[in-house]
């Protein structure tokens, strides 16, 4: 059995693979089956809409070039913004994947290494049960900080400048420049740029503790020794 073709193929090849699949994949799938996947449209919330409309105010030409003008009828405007915001999220996520952002930025806060103090509450399963997490963007490396609580922490104009040339707002940053998200100038983000900023502003916008600000302490007090770590 252990040296025969059928043993190797059926027990080793197929059997053990299926055992692992059932125990490691089907079990969590069954556990979360009552937590339905949210659509992109359902993900658009008031916090995010505020940022999305802010993009319109700051960059009207670019915004209208990408999404057109909102309807003249004011009653129809909220629906219009919601629909365009969902489009922006989809395009933004595509860029987030395409540029490999997820290889240098993670999207989950761990319950260790004092991450909840730095970024906000520890990540929960329900936060990932949506279309934009297919495949999930957990990430496995942090060159830059975790982004899952990034939404609302910084303004849209900070993000435009940062994507255009990171060192302009973050000295010494090793993040690459992304001039192709702009029409030559940080004040003119194109459709992809607007989408990516919308996506980043969405991250964490679903939380009550939004936006979460890092508890900055002056360095001197960190090293005084009365800190709970020491």
């Amino acid at each position: 059995m252990f040296e025969s073709k059928s043993g190797v193929l059926l027990i080793g090849g197929l059997g053990f693979f299926l055992l692992a699949f059932v125990s490691n994949a089907l079990v969590p799938i069954r556990m979360y089956q009552n937590m339905p996947e949210q659509t992109v449209q359902q993900l658009v919330n008031e916090n995010l809409l505020y940022q999305f409309e802010d993009l319109h105010k700051r960059y009207p030409e670019s915004f209208e070039a990408a999404y057109g003008k909102p309807p003249a009828d004011e009653a129809a405007q909220p629906e219009w913004y919601r629909a365009k915001c969902a489009d922006a999220l989809i395009l933004g996520r595509k860029s987030y994947v395409a540029e490999g952002c997820w290889h240098c930025h993670s999207q989950f806060v761990r319950p260790v290494s004092r991450e909840a103090e730095r970024w906000g509450e520890v990540s929960k399963s329900w936060e990932y049960q949506n279309e934009l997490q297919r495949p999930v963007m957990f990430g496995t490396r942090r060159v830059g900080p975790d982004l899952t609580r990034e939404g609302g922490r910084r303004s849209n104009d900070w993000h435009t400048v940062h994507f255009f040339r990171p060192t302009m707002v973050s000295e010494g940053s090793p993040m690459p420049e992304y001039p192709w998200f702009f029409d030559g100038d940080p004040n003119r983000p194109n459709a992809r740029g607007l989408g990516l900023i919308t996506y980043v502003q969405w991250l964490g916008s679903w939380l009550e503790s939004y936006p979460y600000y890092e508890q900055f302490q002056p360095m001197a007090t960190v090293n005084t020794g009365d800190d709970d770590e020491q």
Partner: protein
């Protein structure tokens, strides 16, 4: 240097082995290896902020980082494995593969898959799955290719009579696993399973790609080539059985250890941790078996260059797995997860182990494929020492970098402190990488001169 790297003029058995095909696979592999090195170099330059090609969309370091890993997995490792399999399987079973035309069709189709992956990633069509960034429209084609590979190689194995040698257990299992792993990882998290459970599957995919595609093919080839080169049998058949079945049982259960402390249910994380420690025990039996085999012929490591590549890879394999058994514990994860420690670990596995083995195989086979000895034995030595030295420096350097990064983050100092603190390590890594690239340049040049020389020499063979 080695007698094993010398062409000894054994009779060509072209009815069994299509030497031209093996050579073409090796050349394709080496080409994509070179592409991958460029991607790694670009990312290394970006991190130390010396990237001279800043702001060019098609040369974006983020995209080239994905080309770096995909070119290694599908361009370099897969091609080099396929070439080696076209040598090993017909000679082990004494039967040719199912169909010679099919072999060449698979060769062409696979190069198309790899090239299309590279172009797709460059054009911003990557899929959001680590090690599987292959654009979604290539996935079905790659699956057809993997299926045909299995059919083509299973034909001679199915006809073989009598007890099967260890190598063939590993190969047979690998054909099933690779297909299943690729299908599971590329299709489920993309189309059906979102969020946390999709993350569990992505973890299985990342891990199984190494554990169920690369590892069994690599060990299968070691069980084939090491006894041939040392001219003696494997030390213990019983340990071979333990190694194979231990790997088959425990390796697939490891996947979730890539996402510890995520919202994936904690009991599944514990399970993955325990299975990972178990793999380390299994690996120890395999390594003991191979060191038992070379016991008494230790000088081969000095004189026989392919054997040196193989056994260096095995030492690195043991280090990798020992490291893995420790870093997988939750205590260790809290510090080193997300850091360069893991990047160092990945380079030790993919370059230090499996690439070393495949380079060793190429060092042995290329003279036998082209019918003349290596152009320069000295360059072969340079290739070895620059690769091994560069990798060792990179591994230690990134391991240290990882620990510094972990402590910087836990200290709650501003994020920039961890980036600035990484710079010295990233600079050392750049130079370690350049040493590795230098080693491969020796290899490429040596290969080029050998091929040119063989054109004149083939007349008499």
């Amino acid at each position: 240097m080695s007698d094993a790297a010398t062409y000894v003029g054994e009779p060509f058995d072209d009815k069994l082995v299509d030497r031209k095909l093996v050579l073409w696979y090796f050349l394709a592999a080496v080409t994509f290896f070179a592409v991958s090195l460029l991607g790694g170099l670009l990312m290394a330059l970006q991190l130390v902020r010396w990237n001279p090609l800043q702001g060019i969309e098609l040369l974006s370091p983020g995209r080239w980082r994905m080309i770096h890993t995909n070119a290694i997995a599908y361009g370099w490792l897969a091609n080099a494995f396929l070439g080696s399999l076209h040598w090993a399987i017909p000679r082990l079973t004494l039967r040719p593969v199912a169909n010679k035309a099919l072999s060449w069709f698979i060769f062409g189709a696979w190069q198309f898959v790899v090239l299309a992956t590279a172009v797709g990633i460059l054009l911003g069509e990557a899929q959001g799955l680590e090690w599987g960034e292959t654009p979604v429209w290539i996935d079905p084609l790659a699956l057809v290719g993997l299926f045909l590979v299995a059919v083509n190689f299973m034909a001679p194995i199915a006809q073989a009579r009598g007890p099967l040698y260890v190598t063939l257990w590993y190969f047979m299992a690998a054909f099933v696993w690779t297909f299943l792993t690729y299908a599971m990882g590329n299709l489920l998290p993309e189309y059906w399973v979102s969020g946390t459970s999709g993350g569990a599957i992505a973890g299985l995919f990342i891990h199984d790609l190494v554990g169920l595609f690369v590892t069994p093919l690599g060990w299968g080839l070691m069980y084939y080539f090491v006894p041939i080169l040392l001219k003696k049998p494997i030390w213990s058949h019983g340990l071979s059985l333990v190694g194979f079945w231990g790997l088959a049982f425990f390796y697939p259960l490891n996947g979730i250890h890539h996402f510890l402390y995520t919202p994936i249910p904690m009991f599944l994380q514990y399970g993955a941790v325990i299975a990972t420690v178990a793999v380390e025990l299994v690996v120890t039996t395999v390594v003991i078996n191979f060191f038992g085999t070379i016991w008494g012929s230790g000088r081969a490591v000095v004189t026989n260059l392919p054997i040196r590549w193989f056994y260096t890879g095995m030492v690195f394999y043991f280090i990798t797995c020992l490291q893995c058994a420790m870093q997988v514990t939750l205590t260790f994860q809290a510090l080193i997860h997300f850091t360069d420690w893991v990047v160092g670990h990945a380079h030790l596995v993919m370059f230090g182990v499996f690439s070393f083995w495949l380079i060793g195989i190429m060092t042995y086979l290329i003279p036998r494929l082209v019918g003349c000895d290596w152009y320069s034995r000295e360059l072969c030595e340079w290739h070895y020492w620059l690769s091994a030295g560069g990798l060792l420096v990179m591994f230690v350097d990134l391991g240290l970098a990882g620990m510094f990064q972990g402590y910087f983050w836990a200290s709650l100092l501003p994020w920039d402190v961890s980036v600035d603190g990484s710079q010295p390590f990233w600079i050392v890594r750049l130079f370690a990488g350049l040493a590795i690239i230098g080693g491969q340049l020796c290899f490429f040049y040596n290969l080029y001169r050998t091929l040119t020389a063989s054109r004149g020499a083939t007349a008499h063979v």
